[in-house]
């Protein structure tokens, strides 16, 4: 029976789809709770650096499982009605649905699936480990960024702000932080760290190979990666 030969994109799609389904199911059934606990602890620690004020960032579990945030933020609320004394706010509290918090942990299995589906795993196991740490760090940063955006959004509601430009920026920031970046992050990290995948996908390597330094036999050889077999004879 003749072997089926798939093009690199088709092979990556097939392997990636199967691995994504398998690893995301594993994450959903087994890993989600431990990863969320780790994320919560890391965010509480990291929040102490990002948020400054007389109070500290606190994250607690609400009765329904949602995450309850108390974010230090200290604006002066203008007096309403005019003439009354202005008020000082020290912190803002809001809840983040547990499902939304889970969105900041699923990047890890997605990243693993992409790295395992990409070519030349043996040469990229270091990238797999490095990427896992990078992903974990970026997920915490992203969660803290989202918390900051949500805090300012809550503040805008408290202040009854009708600034359309500021509102649009907050909405855009929230959309990117919650609905776009968590999904794109593992793909971006995989492309940045996995050289063969990047070179195959973007096909920027071909002219680089042709201009690589000559070898002793007079041929020009490219560096590592999928282009290393390319040799251009110069007369």
């Amino acid at each position: 029976m003749p072997a089926i030969s798939l093009s690199p994109p088709a092979r990556f799609l097939l392997r990636g789809s199967v691995l994504l389904a398998a690893l995301l199911t594993l994450w959903w059934l087994v890993l989600i709770n431990p990863l969320q606990s780790l994320l919560q602890a890391a965010a509480a620690t990291g929040g102490a650096w990002l948020f400054s004020g007389s109070s500290e960032l606190t994250i607690t579990d609400a009765a329904n499982g949602d995450w309850a945030f108390e974010v230090p933020i200290e604006p002066v609320v203008p007096p309403t009605p005019p003439g009354a004394a202005p008020q000082q706010i020290y912190s803002i509290g809001f809840d983040l649905a547990r499902a939304d918090a889970g969105g900041f942990t699923f990047g890890l299995p997605v990243f693993w699936a992409l790295m395992l589906a990409a070519p030349e795993l043996r040469r990229n196991w270091r990238s797999l480990i490095t990427g896992t740490f990078v992903m974990a760090l970026l997920e915490v940063v992203l969660l803290l960024l989202t918390v900051k955006i949500l805090a300012y959004k809550s503040l805008a509601q408290v202040l009854h702000s009708h600034d359309p430009v500021g509102g649009w920026f907050l909405r855009c920031g929230e959309y990117l932080a919650v609905n776009a970046i968590p999904y794109l992050l593992p793909f971006a990290v995989a492309i940045v760290l996995h050289r063969e995948l990047r070179e195959q996908m973007f096909q920027w390597a071909a002219p680089i190979a042709a201009s690589a330094p000559p070898a002793r036999n007079g041929n020009r050889v490219a560096g590592r990666g999928s282009q290393r077999r390319i040799a251009v004879k110069r007369n």
């Binding site: 690199p8 994109p9 088709a10 990556f12 799609l13 990636g16 789809s17 994504l20 389904a21 995301l24 199911t25 959903w28 499902a99 889970g102 969105g103 699923f106 997605v110 992409l114 649009w168 909405r171 855009c172 959309y175 990117l176 609905n179 776009a180 999904y183 794109l184 593992p186 793909f187 990047r198 195959q200 996908m201 973007f202 096909q203 920027w204 071909a206 002219p207 680089i208 042709a210 201009s211 690589a212 330094p213 020009r220 110069r234 007369n235």
Partner: protein
């Protein structure tokens, strides 16, 4: 015969077109999402969702299923309903592909081809996704959340990545790939 030495690009010079692409891509993507979130963009977004829900209902009908449409809501005879909103219409993935294609060095003709063919491929897959979610939701709410929030979203991005990869391959084969270093 002596040959002219081929200039050897430095590491930074080699990285320049990639950095240029990454910056332009990020700019196009953020701009695209920003436009979608403006009131006119939201109107188009909602109308597009309604259109996709009607198409999904038609496809379900062709395959012998039953569903009713109310605006952007698809309702099963048993009472389960699913609404297409907040990026469920694949518009964010389309913005992603458009940003990647527009940022990549290629001719406008090839870019137009990539935008049209890629959008069509994404939306075919998105209709399949929406219909599958319609049936998964009738089976289990928990698995609906998993498939809706995580699995299908990442599969759509993976497909978008591969669509872009295939398009770059076509650009490369046509000899229209422009390199910043050339």
């Amino acid at each position: 015969m002596p040959s002219n030495p081929v200039p050897v690009p430095t590491k930074w010079r080699r990285a320049l077109p990639q950095a240029h692409f990454a910056l332009l891509f990020a700019l196009c993507f953020i701009l695209g999402i920003g436009l979608v979130l403006l009131p006119p963009g939201q109107k188009i977004d909602q109308d597009f969702s309604r259109l996709l829900v009607r198409i999904s209902r038609t496809v379900i009908g062709i395959w012998g299923g039953a569903a009713a449409v109310e605006g952007a809501i698809l309702r099963a005879p048993g009472g389960f309903a699913v609404e297409m909103r907040d990026g469920c219409n694949g518009i964010n993935v389309m913005v992603l592909l458009w940003a990647a294609i527009l940022a990549f060095p290629a001719s406008w003709k090839l870019k137009a081809y990539g935008l049209a063919a890629g959008t069509l491929a994404i939306q075919l897959l998105n209709v399949a996704r929406f219909i599958s979610l319609f049936y998964i939701g009738q089976y289990s709410a928990a698995w609906f959340e998993f498939a809706h929030g995580y699995l299908w979203e990442t599969l759509l991005i993976l497909d978008t990545m591969v669509i872009f990869w295939l398009w770059v391959g076509r650009v490369s084969r046509s000899g229209a790939l422009r390199h910043a270093g050339n």
